[in-house]
């Protein structure tokens, strides 16, 4: 278990995973549940255990819509989406390459996409 | 003014409304007036005085006087009326036994301020267009009127009489004074500077108790500092600590009750600015618990005898200003 990585995730997310009472409401509420290998409650639990490598290598990371339903519904205010986000950022940073390059942007532009979404995506998916 | 007061006093004595009058009595010189009780028209004619030097606050004498037989006429300046109101609130005076005539306040003059200019052998003072012409054994001297006014008058908070049965002269208003300027100046110093300032001031104290004994809020039957059983009794400061102790506790005991009449500093033989300690409490109370003027009324609760559940925490002391 990578203690530093866990520390980093906890710090980046600002989440106290120990507050989780394992009710599963996050997963009960998650719209992407079926797409995911690891579900929101598992993210929280696995980060607590320090089992982060698995999460980083899982496609589940990118299935989270960051809709924050789990954050909204969690009775204990654990904020699982923030954990997912933190793991996602860790993964991106570790991979050392950009998931998005400027060259890819023009293809993505269409009438409906808000400017801000692109900027955000660019900020999120690049080093 | 003096004539009007004498006339009214004699009328009230004559018609039996009152049987005594408390006011000010002429002294050896033009400035050394003494608070006095007059019982007859003759005494009043002979000695009653009200002029630039009648700065003494006579309200405290009413603690005793109002408990005597019959009614007493008291001439109260605006600042004195606050003291009197506060005494009513604390059940220290019998209101019914006092007939109050509100008289105009200062600015009064302070002979010490004249003498501090090095003017000695003073025989008489005339105010000509706000210049004092001072007759002395060594010839005439002059100084600006405003440099000779009493410290407490310089920072006058109110020209309004908050209690009276009748007025001679006009009533005034509560003033926007700058009375907290010096407190603020000290607050903005460093702790070291403040410490040094107060050490220099308080080390002058000779523990004559004049500040306490003149204070209209200090009307305890026996002061803790005079009571051998209180554990803090002491007659003279044997150590700088005892100087601090006396003045902190003195100010604390009148916190929320002090009307800022300024008598403490006026009577201090060593010119210690004691009123600054009282004003510090007043300023804090105003800032932390809402504007409060002791003596402005007779019913409101003193700030230290009440509370609000949302009051600030003492850590505010640690957070603001300069350490």
């Amino acid at each position: 278990m990578d203690k530093n990585l866990k520390e980093q995730i906890l710090r980046a997310s600002g989440v106290n995973v120990l507050k989780c009472m394992r009710c599963g409401k996050c997963s009960g509420t998650c719209p992407s549940y079926d797409e995911m290998e690891y579900h929101p409650h598992q993210f929280v639990y696995m980060v607590e255990k320090g089992d982060i490598e698995k999460l980083m290598n899982s496609a589940s990371l990118y299935k989270c819509l960051t809709c924050f339903a789990c954050v909204e519904r969690c009775p204990r205010n654990v904020e699982p989406a923030k954990v997912v986000e933190a793991v996602r950022l860790a993964a991106i940073r570790q991979q050392g390459n950009n998931h998005l390059t400027p060259a890819m942007i023009p293809d993505m532009i269409d009438e409906d996409i808000p400017q801000q979404a692109l900027v955000t995506a660019f900020r999120k998916y690049t080093k | 003014m003096q004539e009007a007061m004498i006339k009214r006093a004699k009328e009230l004595l004559a018609d039996g409304t009152v049987n005594r009058v408390i006011g000010w009595k002429k002294g050896e010189f033009f400035y050394d007036i003494t608070p006095a009780v007059f019982e007859t028209a003759e005494e009043i004619d002979a000695d009653f005085v009200f002029d630039d030097f009648t700065s003494a606050n006579v309200s405290k004498y009413l603690v005793k006087e109002s408990k005597k037989e019959g009614k007493i006429l008291a001439f109260l300046k605006p600042c004195d009326t606050y003291s009197f109101n506060q005494l009513i609130k604390e059940h220290r005076v019998v209101r019914e036994n006092v007939y109050i005539i509100g008289v105009p306040g200062g600015p009064k003059l302070d002979i010490e301020k004249i003498k501090a200019k090095g003017i000695t052998g003073v025989l008489g003072v005339k105010n000509e267009n706000f210049t004092l012409k001072i007759d002395t054994l060594y010839g005439e001297e002059t100084m600006p009127f405003y440099e000779a006014i009493c410290g407490k008058c310089a920072d006058c908070k109110s020209k309004k009489h908050v209690i009276y049965d009748e007025l001679i002269g006009e009533d005034g208003d509560v003033l926007d004074s700058n009375r907290f300027d010096m407190v603020e100046k000290l607050e903005n110093m460093t702790a070291q500077e403040r410490f040094e300032f107060w050490r220099e001031q308080l080390s002058k104290c000779i523990r004559c108790n004049a500040c306490r004994n003149v204070c209209p809020a200090c009307t305890c039957e026996k002061c803790v500092f005079d009571n051998p059983n209180s554990g803090v009794e002491n007659k003279a400061a044997s150590d700088s600590f005892e100087e601090n102790m006396f003045h902190i506790i003195r100010a604390f005991h009148v916190a929320g009750r002090c009307t800022d009449c300024g008598e403490c500093s006026r009577v201090c033989p060593q010119n210690i600015p004691l009123h600054l300690l009282n004003r510090k409490f007043i300023k804090d109370i105003n800032a932390l618990y809402g504007e409060y003027q002791a003596g402005a009324d007779t019913t409101s609760r003193a700030p230290l005898n009440t509370y609000d559940t949302e009051d600030c925490e003492p850590s505010i002391v640690h957070e603001r200003g300069v350490e």
Partner: protein, 146 residues
């Protein structure tokens, strides 16, 4: 300023019987260490603490004084600590005005359940006072230990 590394501050803690004294007991029960410098005086309520006691402590050799009471709203006597809060705020402000170091005095709310907070508070306060060094501004020279 001269720093005396061996300086062990004397700290007087006034604790309300119902909350903080019980909180102190709880930190004992839980074996939560705090410095021996702290000596507790039990009072029925923080509102029993007279400013004269605080000054007396400084006179007789205390380097720091801390008052602990129930949390506002939890006073066993319903309102005592509210009065404490006003009185002590004003007193501390006055001491500050006289140039006495702010960190020599403190007021904390510690409930009977907050044994850990009690210990941590005492630890912190002792450290703060230790940093200030001996009380020199509000001491009585006659009482200074030779």
């Amino acid at each position: 300023m001269q720093v005396n590394n061996n300086f062990e501050p004397v700290i007087v803690a006034f604790c309300c019987n119902w909350c903080s004294y019980a909180g102190a007991d709880l930190s004992g029960t839980n074996r939560l260490n705090y410095p021996t410098n702290v000596k507790i005086i039990r009072v029925p309520c923080s509102c029993r603490v007279n400013p004269m006691f605080i000054l007396r402590a400084f006179q007789k050799g205390a380097d720091g004084v801390i008052i602990c009471g129930c949390h506002p709203g939890d006073c066993h006597y319903t309102s005592g600590n509210y009065f404490t809060r006003r009185r002590i705020t004003l007193l501390y402000s006055m001491l500050d005005f006289l140039g006495i170091e702010r960190n020599r005095t403190r007021l904390e709310w510690v409930s009977a359940a907050e044994g850990a907070k009690f210990a941590a508070t005492m630890q912190q306060f002792t450290e703060d006072v230790r940093k200030l060094g001996p009380n020199r501004r509000l001491e009585d020279l006659r009482c200074r230990k030779q």
